[in-house]
Symmetry: C2
Amino acid sequence: MARANKTKYAILGLLSLKPASGYDIKKIVDESIGFFWNENFGHIYPILARMEKEGLVRKLAKESGDRKARNVYALTARGEREFLEWLGEPADVTPHRNELLLKLFFGRRIDRGAVEAILAEQRRKNQELLEIYGGVARHIDEVGTPEAPYWRFTLDYGIRIARMHVEWCDETLKALKRLSSSKKEKRS
Amino acid sequence: MARANKTKYAILGLLSLKPASGYDIKKIVDESIGFFWNENFGHIYPILARMEKEGLVRKLAKESGDRKARNVYALTARGEREFLEWLGEPADVTPHRNELLLKLFFGRRIDRGAVEAILAEQRRKNQELLEIYGGVARHIDEVGTPEAPYWRFTLDYGIRIARMHVEWCDETLKALKRLSSSKKEKRS
DNA sequence: GCGCCCATGTAACTAGTTACATGATTCA
DNA sequence: TGAATCATGTAACTAGTTACATGGGCGC
């Protein structure tokens, strides 16, 4: 049920908002969905070419200026259909492969201080994210386009997850301290 | 700084707990860290072979029974060193590529009901996870091995994230309803 | 003229998935 | 005897990353 080639759907989605070049796509990804998505040129260009062959996207005529070899793509009807089909399907759960948890799972193999350092660093980074997100939220609320509520939902998700990280780090750090002290008590 | 080939470190970590075969590794992953990690045979076997060539793991002598071609691997000193080195480094933030958020970002392109269905399904699956985790928590608390606290930390993370999902789904569903009603008001 | 951003692309590689082939053991 | 599980592995593939090559346009 879950589909592979997520890059394809991300590109179809962005093109469904407005026509864009490969370069644009990369920029839009970085600037607007960068906190939960990434793409790179080495993948975007070949995939655009393939999608054109498959009739999902088409190259628009060069802009009047024609100043450069800018290949601007737009969705075709088939591309639109395929995008909407994917969009209506339920999304995967199971965000697999969490390296932080993998490290923590093996945490007993290093000294407590090292584990604490990892958690502290994680907490710091997420606190940082929270501050950035605050600014983004203000920005979204200002624009007020019809898409804005949906963008706001994704941002809320990001905020909640960062907050959850901070809280979990705090709790885990506390629990580690308790671990240490109960060890000491046993020794005495 | 962030290292690729996460499978390698997962395998080194598991072997650091006790020697195991490729088959064992797959089973351990599924049964104990399956909620945040996955591996498959087609990757495990080649990578074990490669690590043996690199001197990170070594094949133990066949067990006395010798009943079968079971290749049991153990860490070498070098493997141990490499594992600990990785373990001490801070973990990545940025859990990239969240398909749920990608869909939601484009949510305005489908009707409200379809978005609600996606969220409801997501909520349901996470509620389900929460129940499973409850059982796992009891299990961990019973065993009481020295590793148990660390395993408990990873599980707490899973619980928090599932809870966060449920809450966020609820809030987002509410917000969607508000969106609908404000549209209607404007129309009247 | 130099550095920076725009812009497209290819090549080489690594990681990871899926499907398949093979055969032993265990137990109902 | 036949299904389930144990056990190893290969082949073919897809996705995704990194590094590189190339060149135009713009502003200082």
